[in-house]
């Protein structure tokens, strides 16, 4: 299995943190805040597409409101695969840092 990219990790984390409120706008804002750098919708949705294809997340259509031009919000939730993948990448990251714990990083 391929490792998650940093962006994918951030998106998955954001979806977990936002719980029921995880849709395009909120995910984008949260990730943007986290990395302190601009995140375009194009990038976000490309990454979300990948995650959907790998079945790490599922989407559900929310209610339609007039302020969104008649389009429903799409809410994302993590699947168990997604959670495993995120946990794997967490373990990997930790392993990376532990492997160099005897060196000083400065």
């Amino acid at each position: 299995m391929k490792e998650l990219t940093l962006l994918e990790q951030m998106i998955l984390a954001a979806i977990i943190a936002l719980k029921e409120d995880a849709y395009g706008v909120s995910i984008r804002k949260r990730v943007e805040k986290l990395r302190g750098k601009k995140l375009m919708y194009g990038t976000l949705y490309n990454a979300l597409d990948q995650l959907l294809r790998k079945e790490y997340v599922t989407k559900t259509k929310g209610t339609t409101s007039s302020e969104r031009g008649g389009r429903p919000r799409i809410y994302y939730t993590l699947t168990s695969d997604g959670k495993n993948a995120l946990r794997d990448s967490y373990n990997l990251q930790r392993a990376i840092w532990e492997s160099i714990s005897e060196f000083r990083l400065d």
Binding site: Y41, G42, L48, G69, R71, R73, I74
Partner: protein, 379 residues
């Protein structure tokens, strides 16, 4: 608009995000940063999304296109002489074509600037099988009286006059015309009105160019010109310069009445005659009617004279006797079209030369593009 653009592309996720997510945040931003900034942000998102979209769907096309450009460039570099011949040939061919097309355009535009272009005709007398553009001086007046179809008529008696103002002496080309001339043809006046410029017999109208020559920056109206050291004429109007694509070329216009009594009595062939006909005139019938006109009125003539009529559209490109110059337009337009084909073949030939190279490159290319496609799809 951005919504439509992206939903047209039909990527299933984006259909939602642009109109939905982007729209929602757009409204927030309008309140925070103002409409202008928000719009800018919105479009930034759309453009970026498009770029991201094209990265996936045209990964193959993009790589291939780049590759083609690269191959072409290498090909040009490797076959410098052939490329030079090809490109020069194409450039010269295109330049020729453009020049020919410009020339054709100019030829076909002759006299078309007249508002009454379609209704102006000139009368053409035929003597012993030869047609002339000069008409009897006295023809115009009688002609208009006899035929109600003629709305306006004007003679154009070409003149070369030596004109003097102060110490400036120039020979100018111009014409004696009737009062109708300026309202028939579209030669706009900068100063003066078409109805009144020839009110006095001793008036003259100059083009801008001629007026500038004699009077510089001074106002020419009311100034006098000594013509042929015999007559003083007063400038009453200034014309815009005559366009080059007019078959009537002149730098001054003076009244026909300067001719004196002769203008109504002389039947010698001296002046061109232009008639503005009513719109609903049946031309063949009218041509039949006028064919015996000169014989009828000119009692002295012993030769048989047939009067014809020629539309303004045929004045420049059709000759009165012999072959019509319009044939050159046809010839050159054929050349212009044919020109493109030899160069097209030479282009293909150069493509043939590089065909093997392209095939070889293509093999590599498919390998590369399949790799890059995989790397995108399976991240």
């Amino acid at each position: 608009m951005g919504q439509k653009l992206l939903s047209f592309l039909g990527h299933y996720e984006w259909k939602y995000f642009v109109s939905g997510d982007c729209g929602e945040e757009f409204k927030e931003r309008v309140q925070e940063n103002g409409r202008c900034r928000a719009l800018l942000w919105y479009w930034e998102q759309v453009v970026y999304a498009l770029a991201a979209y094209s990265k996936i769907s045209t990964a193959v096309g993009g790589t291939m296109l780049k590759n083609y450009i690269k191959i072409t460039w290498r090909n040009i570099k490797n076959n410098k002489i052939y490329s030079f011949i090809n490109i020069m040939g194409l450039a010269v061919g295109m330049a020729c074509c453009i020049l020919i097309l410009l020339w054709i355009q100019d030829e076909l535009s002759f006299d078309k600037f007249h508002e009454n272009y379609g209704d102006i005709y000139r009368t053409i007398p035929e003597l012993q099988g030869t047609k002339y553009s000069s008409n009897p001086l006295a023809l115009a007046g009688v002609f208009k009286e006899q035929y109600p179809e003629v709305r306006q008529i004007s003679r154009f008696y070409q003149m070369f006059w030596l004109m003097k103002h102060g110490d400036k002496i120039y020979e100018e080309r111009g014409a004696l015309v009737d009062d109708d001339f300026l309202s028939m043809f579209t030669f706009p006046l900068i100063q003066g009105t078409p109805e009144t410029v020839f009110a006095s017999r001793d008036s003259i109208v100059l083009t801008e160019r001629a007026a500038g020559k004699f009077f510089g920056t001074q106002d020419p109206i009311g100034k006098s010109l000594l013509v042929n050291n015999s007559a003083e004429l007063i400038v009453t109007g200034v014309l815009k310069d005559v366009p080059l694509n007019s078959h009537l070329q002149f730098d001054f216009l003076a009244s026909m009445r300067l001719m004196g009594a002769r203008e109504h009595t002389s039947w010698s062939y001296e002046a061109r005659t232009y008639a503005l006909l009513e719109k609903d005139v049946s031309l063949p019938d009218f041509a039949d009617k006028i064919s015996g006109f000169v014989m009828e009125h000119d009692k002295r003539t012993k030769q048989k004279v047939v009067l014809h009529i020629q539309p303004l559209s045929k004045v420049h490109l059709y000759s009165l006797n012999g072959p019509d110059p319009v044939i050159y337009v046809y010839i050159f337009s054929t050349i212009a079209v044919k020109r493109t084909s030899p160069y097209r073949t030479s282009q293909t030939r150069s493509l043939d030369l590089s065909w093997n190279m392209i095939k070889e490159q293509n093999r590599k290319l498919f390998f590369i593009s399949s790799l890059s496609l995989r790397s995108i799809c399976i991240r």
